[in-house]
Amino acid sequence: MSQTRLIQIEQDILAKNNAYAAANRALLARSGVLALNLLSSPGSGKTTLLVETIKRLRDRQRIAVIEGDQQTSADAARIRETGVPAIQINTGKGCHLDGHMVGHALEELAPQAHSILFIENVGNLVCPAAFDLGEAYKVVILSVTEGEDKPLKYPDMFAAADLILVNKIDLMPHLDFDIAQAVANMRKVKPSVKVLEVSARSGAGLDRWIAWIEAAHALERIGADATAQLSD
């Protein structure tokens, strides 16, 4: 005989993903790895920007890359050409990386202590915003060809950003893109957000981006050292 009853569970639907992300974050913190989650629409120049970033950092930093795409391992191959280890996650029908996929990729990739881990998410300005991967920061890339209205059209993504890179600024002379308006729109969604203008192709502004990464990396290292001392 069955009896109808009510069960109160009050469970966050993303709780599972968040638990995987927390485990990733703890693992990365123990070894002082700085993880950056790179997010953008398809075609914003994420992979090119990543390749140029790696070229400027590889002589003095240990780097590893996780690449997320629905299909193909073309991006991981492009990254490996720079000489750094990269692993490709194909999400199949999935529109975003999640904490569980990244956890498996971390086991396989095993980034070295004190390295910088770039996680290039699936090109999509909607879904990846909801899934914490365990990264230290979310970096959102918006290229000038996409238009200044995108922060208002995809507010969840821009609200989640710790840093926004406005890419392809070398194309500005050919476009009507109003960068002041774009930044104003970003600040409507997230008043405190930091914005850097860059061009992966011309190299403009990349020095500041590199300086930001190394500052974040230094902070991560201080955190890991302090934690290690506390547990001694």
Partner: protein, 113 residues
Amino acid sequence: MHEMALCESIRTTLEEQSRLHNFTKVARVSLEVGPLSGVEVEALRFGFDVVMRGSVAEGAHLDIIESRGEAWCMVCAESVPIEARFEPCVKCGSHQLQVTAGEELRIKELEVN
């Protein structure tokens, strides 16, 4: 369409709960969804029916409680209602808002037998 992935997460939770609370059939699932949760309610309903097939919640009724968005306005120094992330404060027009409610995405209650 991350609503499908969310539905899969709901399905896993329901399967776990069925073992924990010893039930075999879910008649109703009650979800709380905030306006700032990034979820399209219609897509969630569609995904729910498809994903629950073959599970303890096949054919279950989905109840969605749409909660309200709320933010702290730094300028007014008080709580104000908000419907979307880019909206200004309804009182003073400022964008210096800190979201305090509306991001909920939660399974509240199950009716089971």
